[in-house]
Amino acid sequence: MMVRRIARFFDDRFGSDAAIRYFAAKIYPDHWSFYLGEFALYAFIILVATGVWLSFVYDDSQARAFASVVALSRDAPIGYLIRQIHHWSAVTFVAAILIHMARIFFTAAFRKPRELNWLVGLTLLILASLTGFTGYSLPNDVLSGVGVRIADSVVLSVPFVGAWAASIFTGGGFPGPLLLSHLYTLHVYYLPVAIGALLAAHIGMLTYQKHTQFARDPKHVVGRRFWPDYALRTLAAFAATVAAILALAGTWEINPIERLGEYRDYLSPNPATPDWYAAFLDGGLRLGPAFAPTIAGHPIPAIFWPGVVLPAVVLALVAGWPWIDARIVRDGHAHDVLVPPSAAPWRVGAGVGLIVAGFVLTLAASDDIQSRTLHISVTALVTFYRWALVIVPLGAGFLAAELARDVRTRTIHRNAETESVVALRRNARGGFDEETPRKTA
């Protein structure tokens, strides 16, 4: 058999048999929600594969970038298709990371000893969004160009260092002679290399610390062998990701820059809305107060508050969550067993509240379109969304927590009825161990 011969080849040269056997026999807990992160990984592989191809035809000069992307789409159906696949993979990549992160959050998989991997994962989300944003900007079309200009204004708004940072990046002014070249280097080199390195760290930590599980056996990993059982399952996940992205790319056209035209700083698309994963930031800019104080004659532009302060606060909160959570439950112990979301209703409330706040901001990013279709003034919509940003997440959070509480109560009652209760056993150290009595049926 082929696999065996390859293993033999390496064993003869490296004595790798023991390691291969160890990894082949490694146990992986299995649950549908554990594949969400894998979808992200596989989307990244497709991104790298299609991105390498795109780099053969893209021209990063200010004068020819747009033309090179149009030519790539016009000259061969395969070029058009590869750009479609690349963009759809980027969307899938970010979406899969977000959903994976929500799963980690609601099942409390971020708890000790996995706080570091939570931070690595959050960094990967930021890098994925930045890679998405820089890639989306490379065609130099009028829609993405306006987005880059807004990003430049946000960087400019940072007191003291902002203007310096922006001038290094653009080469001075806007668009600036170095802008596209720097965006391109970031997009094809620094960001993907950083993502690759952090993915290795993410999966390395996961492998070493072993995956969390729902089975209530804190001393053991409970699941399937890697080879061939889990390997076949993850191969199926890979192929399914490829199939889904290809189907999306063949069905819905994404980012048709040919119809938008090239960027000029005096031309504007209308409506001007960004890709969905950046829309919440744009929504923040629309709702932000017209408040620009001056400190000793130096202005702090209004865009600083929703453009820099708001994302920084949210990021700090999410990054610190494993420690905040441990404080709230007064639990500094390590956990390998996941909890069902309903076990901690307040956590469900906090998570749902944050997600809903993101949705409100995302909706606010198309207030001009809503104004046109609903015949409501933009000013009224901005007022509405400002209130909604406070009230709706609070309401949704309380509602979600209440539902979780209800589910928890029902589960406890049902478990009590069907005798599959958890037994607590006093151990030698004076603590308690949880034990699930074996089912007799």
Partner: protein, 262 residues
């Protein structure tokens, strides 16, 4: 068995996608055939995994975690006191040194002027010089200084108003000959083009974040997140009747930053 059939479908679909690409079929056809091939592989792998009937409750012990109780180190390897605070300070000094190239790279950006200068004729985006009567009352045009169409930061909106509609500020008398008033098109909020003019309400509207500026009152922001008025370009009419600029903008155009004291 079903794994084999699924893989057969995958082979046929993959070859089909290849021939579709070779025959310059539509992107949708190529994509769907390739998607079918990948889906068939997913089915094959899923069926193979199912056919294993492998148990899902195999157990493997988890690693012990700290606090660890290591063997005491031999006396000559005790590191206490070797890495004192001075090492950290020295490391810090090198970090400061490493920052030098980056600080050198960062230069305080020079105040960015625009391409407008005294006497520069006002031209539209096709480069045609405009006379004071070329834009009808109620009309608007995107204009540039002559020979500089498309110059960065120089895009300007020329709006024609009734002669006495403008609430002229005392320091801007004569800047709008025959009702031709000119404002920077670059939004002071985030640098987007302020592309929409609502002539019935004399408002400029930015499509990015919906800032609204009052054309009759020095383009003062009246709604939305912008806090600074669009700079006004002082115009004049030259001897041949063409609109010209009296000079560059008197204040920075575009979004503010810490160093652009206004």
């Amino acid at each position: 068995m079903s794994t084999r059939y699924a893989l057969l479908v995958a082979i046929i679909a993959a070859l089909g996608a290849t021939s579709a690409a070779a025959a310059h079929a539509s992107p949708a056809a190529i994509a769907w055939l390739a998607a079918a091939a990948a889906a068939a592989v997913a089915v094959a792998a899923g069926a193979a995994a199912r056919a294993l009937r492998a148990p899902d409750d195999l157990r493997e012990p988890r690693h012990a975690r700290g606090p660890s109780q290591p063997e005491p180190l031999p006396a000559d390897a005790v590191s206490r006191g070797v890495f004192g605070r001075m090492w950290a300070y020295a490391a810090g000094a090198f970090v400061v040194l490493a920052a030098v190239p980056f600080v050198a790279l960062a230069r305080r950006p020079a105040p960015r002027g625009t391409a407008w200068s005294a006497g520069a004729r006002v031209v539209d985006t096709f480069g045609r010089a405009l006379r004071a009567d070329d834009i009808a009352v109620g009309g608007v045009a995107t204009v540039f200084p002559e020979h500089n169409v498309g110059a960065p930061e120089s895009a300007t909106l020329l709006i024609r108003l009734q002669d006495d509609a403008l609430r002229t500020r005392p320091d801007r008398v004569g800047w709008a000959p025959h009702g031709n008033v000119a404002y920077s098109k670059i939004c002071t909020h985030a640098g987007c083009p302020v592309a929409i003019y609502r002539h019935e309400s004399y408002q400029l509207y930015c499509p990015c974040h919906q800032s609204v500026f009052d054309v009759l009152d020095a383009a003062r922001p009246i709604s939305g997140p912008a806090t600074r008025a669009l700079p006004q370009l002082a115009l004049d009419v030259d001897a041949h009747g063409y609109l010209v600029a009296r000079g560059d903008y008197g204040e920075p155009v575009g979004p503010d930053d810490w160093w652009r004291t206004v």
